[in-house]
Amino acid sequence: MENSYSNKTKLLEDIQKGDEQLLERLYAQYRSEFIIWAGRRYNCADDTSAEVYQRAFIILYYNIKDGKITELKSSLKTYLFAIAKNVFRERFRDKHNKTSDIEQGAAIQEVDYDIDETYKKEHQKKVVARLLQRIGEPCKTVLHLFFFKNYSVEAIAITMGYKDERVVSKRKSVCLKQLRELMKK
């Protein structure tokens, strides 16, 4: 799939747009190779490798979507595997740290704080998901494209068939205002 893109910039652009078919094919393209490579290098079970692969793929997409990777100096596979190495490193470090914390009987407060934060984030996600469901289209898509996918107002105008970017900017503000009003009800 990556090989069929002669132009790396185009590949990056299509990933940044969140082209799902492309993303799914890229996911499939490197998976088997990764599982074999990770199994040999880290001596881990396929399930662990698959979890790491998922996480690495998600991070790769976020990095491209959020503009942290703006050009491909190597192949996409190189980036993906490099991210996966970091994910493995974090997993090993976390495992080690957790054991140390328990041994020292410390970090309980920190754990409580994490649980609290996690709960708040979950609550926030749930509330906003419901609000988005209530507000409906086109607000839901406009807000998703702008705030999650980081589309420019020009790109949203093209995707949504709006006359120009001023319509998008207006729509975005109106939708946010409506969302807040719904939240306050």
């Binding site: 609000l131 998703h144 939240m183």
Partner: protein
């Protein structure tokens, strides 16, 4: 844009760090001096962060569904049918599918702790909130000498299955193929012996962690 829309545009640009440095500083000062504005900024911050979190959840669920195909031994993306391709759900869909029905939950809770009884019909299995995939098997403590009525409702209280169970049946199995993931409620009714109400899940692993 109206002045109000421009005001919201300014807030969201501030939150995304897109204002020029002098305007960022001016905005910070305004927020410090104006509690109403501070609340407004906090609300939009909550909403924008939430939109990003919902998007991330949906994307990560999608990647998990791709991975799931390998676990189920279906790794051939080319031959995947349209029907299979559509079997991923967004967070708001999952929230709706796993949403508990307050009135039912309350009745079940009261019955389980013995505060309320809905009759003498006793069902040994399935246990409340059990998780199923393709079929659900019912087992009665004592078969009754009259036909029973089984209904299954989804989390929106839509009746998705209605079936008569012959008199004197002790065990029976219901096919769940074609049921979407989610929270369901079954009601088994007898004219003489009352009703049993319980919930069950299909693919509970997809339930958002907030429930």
């Amino acid at each position: 844009m109206t002045p109000q829309e421009q005001h919201i545009d300014r807030i969201q640009k501030y939150l995304r760090g897109e204002l020029p440095p002098n305007e960022m500083t001016a905005m910070k000062t305004d927020i410090e001096q104006n509690p109403v504005l501070a609340q407004e900024v906090a609300d939009y911050h909550f909403l924008i962060e939430g939109i990003v979190a919902v998007g991330a959840f949906d994307f990560e669920a999608k990647v998990a569904s791709w991975e799931q195909k390998y676990k189920l031994g279906r790794s051939d993306f080319e031959e995947e049918s349209e029907e299979e391709a559509s079997e991923t759900y967004t967070l708001d869909e999952l929230l709706a599918m796993f949403q508990p029905v307050g009135a039912y939950e309350s009745r079940i809770a009261k019955e389980l702790v013995g505060i309320r009884s809905m009759g003498n019909l006793k069902v040994i299995q399935p246990e409340n909130e059990a998780d199923f995939l393709e079929q659900i098997t019912f087992q009665l403590e004592n078969p009754v000498n009259e036909a029973l009525k089984l209904t299954i409702e989804n989390s929106e209280e839509d009746e998705v299955l209605k079936q008569n169970i012959a008199a004197n049946t002790a065990t029976f199995t219901i096919d769940l193929k074609g049921f979407k993931p989610g929270r369901y409620y079954w009601k088994l009714r007898s004219k003489k012996y009352g009703m049993v109400l319980r919930s069950f899940f299909i693919q509970k692993n997809l339930m958002p962690p907030t429930f």
